[in-house]
Amino acid sequence: MTTTAKKHKREDVAVMAHLLRRAGFGATCDQIDQYLDRGYEETVEYLLNPVAGKPEDEDLMDRYFIASVEARSVTHADPQWSWRLATSEKPLEEKIALFWHSLLAVGGIKLDHGLEMLTEIELFRRVGLGKFQTILSEISRNPGMMYWLDNQNSHKDAPNENYGRELLELFSMGIDDMGEGAYTEEDVKTAARAFTGWASKPTPPPFLLGPFPMEFRFDESDHDNNDKLFLGETGNFGGEEIIDIVVKQRATARFIAMRLYLFFVSDEPDNEEIERLTDIFQETDGDIRAILRSLFNSDHFKSEAVRFRKVKSPAELVFGTARLTDRFDIPDMDSSTLANQSMYMGQFLLNPPGVEGWHEGEEWVDSGSLIERINFAASELARVESPGVSRMVELVEQAGEALDPSEFVEACLDAMGSIDIDTDSKSVLIDHAAKRSSTETDGADRIVEMFQLIVSTPDYQYC
């Protein structure tokens, strides 16, 4: 029995671990213990209300990776977000940034401005748990987004429909399986007209002096000030009014509820729960924090039926595993390259593949990425000198000296943060443990080997 299991009911531990995997990137046994002492609902509130402000160690990150301060490219910017993802004590702040980064996607390669990509992530940290109207309003003023979707080429005499179309199709109202949305082609054209004059100021290329921060620009003289008919309403709408109308739509509420459900709960949609979340969206004027509060506190979310039913994204796998080792106390070369590991597995952070973001769920895993995932996780868990692995070994050792193979495997799963695996996988691990008596090898080696086997199971690919 681990420390956690001794202090708290096994089911409570499992539910808390589940929350921390979904609202963050997982947690160590000791962290789960601390959160359980706080209580489930209080933990939800803690996660939903991160203290505003930059982390105290931002100066260290800037010092050791000075090129990321003026990040000219995505690869120059990566060390900054890697560090936050691996170490932030505000895990939901990073998780919601990851959510919006994929939903309101800006591609780093086209933008070619790492500094602006980091600014966009900071935007999501700042407003990502707020009202959806605010989020849409801010992203529509985000110079990177304006550039990414060509709005600088949208003029009152020749509107470019790109932003108007993606705003409706991919960012808010969505389309059904037949490719139909609850809006018309005319609504797309009208939205485009309303956003004419919204653009980013030109910045000099970084060839001479590195990048300059991008800024939003509204050009009144290039804005279509005529009356417009949009989703049944008429007026001299600008971008803000378009957003206000969009956010009121039931289709928008359902689209965002669906995306939140798929990201935080399960890869398989549950229509009843999504309808409930849709109602909350409309009752709260699109308050993302209120929706997530209800989602995390629901019996549906806590139920065993949705645990380990989401394929971990590469970022979840990489940073969740890195956090388990608890080995990053100061920025270094290893921390700076964690984002590369995610890229090798198919998720190039700060550079989503297109305006649709990443296709999640089962699509994350193919034979190539699976090998990358297993190799990375197994190599991380082999770091017995790291505080996290060392502590997990200690917890298994504390569970008892004469554990039978089944108890030994359970102790290892508990020590890794209440991981659950299916019966078949567990049988294989128990058989392996039975063949490796504790006299064959050093106890710590045997435990670490079991950790490595656990992260190599198909089950570890789920959260």
Partner: protein, 324 residues
């Protein structure tokens, strides 16, 4: 505000991944002939690190110490110093050592390894020589300054981690003055500390803040031969100048013009020149962005490594300051 004790002279540099130009220059030193050795840090993962050598008239000469872990290579170089024989010493925070090259960039040897013992380092940063040829190295995660003989043998060290007088919190830059007094940019304590040649605490300069005499993570300190003290106020994007008594004299925030290399680039890339002109950022272009080190010459030049703008801004001193 017009400068009183300095006149902007010119700028050297252009962002460049190799050869002519710099990528995040974090430190620089002049050799005995007035040739400038600039250390580009970049990001370790982007492998653009190097020492590049050029005249103050922007005549590029050669480079060495590029990215890697083999002898003669550097990975996360932090600071550079030249001894009386113009041998080039480069500290490396990744390899926890000091690489030594001759003036032509030929690798000679390297000292140190990771550890807490004498002659071992945990992320060595600032480096400077005293009048006897001993080298003083800020061993920053060990929160101490080590003094090594010209042959690399350990002589002494001082400092512990903390916020009290004589203690350090992630120290970075170092300067040894004309009397072999030691000055340390005590980075995370937002102050500069002055010590005797034996490491005895003398005084502290500055505190946290943005006003004159206050610092936000000072990265470098440089004491000119006449005693003027230059503090690189890293996160305030400025350089403050003080007298030996700690009195604030002047603040530099950057006055850059196009370097010769940048002008040549724009001359052959007119579309780039057009974009630059249209961006309306010419005033902003002048300013320092995370300056990290200062060097001075005997003939009154002040060089500032403007690390996030990939250039060295150069000022000339108006002689009156020499009396401070």
């Amino acid at each position: 505000m017009p400068l009183e004790n300095f006149a902007y002279s010119h700028t050297i540099g252009i962002a460049s991944f190799l050869g002519r130009g710099f990528m995040n220059p974090v430190d620089m030193r002049l050799d005995s002939k007035g040739i400038l050795f600039v250390l580009s840090r970049s990001n370790a993962a982007n492998q653009d690190v190097r020492v590049s050598v050029q005249t103050l008239d922007s005549e590029y000469m050669y480079e060495f110490g590029r990215w890697g872990t083999d002898p003669g290579q550097t990975t996360q170089p932090t600071a550079i110093a030249l001894d009386a024989d113009d041998r080039v010493f480069v500290t490396d925070e990744f390899m926890h050592n000091v690489s030594i090259f001759d003036r032509d960039g030929k690798f000679i040897e390297r000292w140190g390894e990771f550890g807490t013992g004498d002659g071992q380092f945990n992320r060595p940063s600032g480096i400077a020589f005293d009048s006897e040829g001993n080298v003083h190295i800020v061993d920053h995660l060990n929160a101490r300054v080590q003094k090594l003989a010209p042959d690399g043998s350990f002589i002494s060290s001082f400092g512990t981690f903390g916020t009290e007088a004589g203690q350090f919190n992630f120290p970075w830059g170092i300067s040894v003055d004309a009397e072999d007094g030691i000055w340390i940019a005590d980075w995370r304590n937002d102050r500069v500390q002055r010590f005797t040649p034996d490491g005895e605490f003398v005084s502290v300069l500055g505190s946290s803040g943005q006003n004159d005499g206050e610092f936000d993570r000072p990265s470098g300190v440089h004491v000119a031969s006449d005693g003027a003290v230059f503090v690189v106020d890293w996160r305030n994007d400025r350089v403050q100048v003080f007298g030996q008594d700690g009195s604030h004299s002047e603040t530099l925030v950057g006055d850059a013009t196009l370097s010769k290399w940048s002008q040549e680039f724009l001359d052959v890339n007119p579309e780039q020149a057009s974009w630059r002109d249209g961006a309306g950022l010419l005033e902003q272009e002048k300013l320092f962005w995370r300056p990290s080190a200062v060097e001075t010459s005997e003939d009154g030049l002040v060089l500032i490594a403007d690390s996030c703008r990939h250039r060295i801004q150069i000022y000339s001193r108006i002689p009156a300051l020499a009396s401070v």
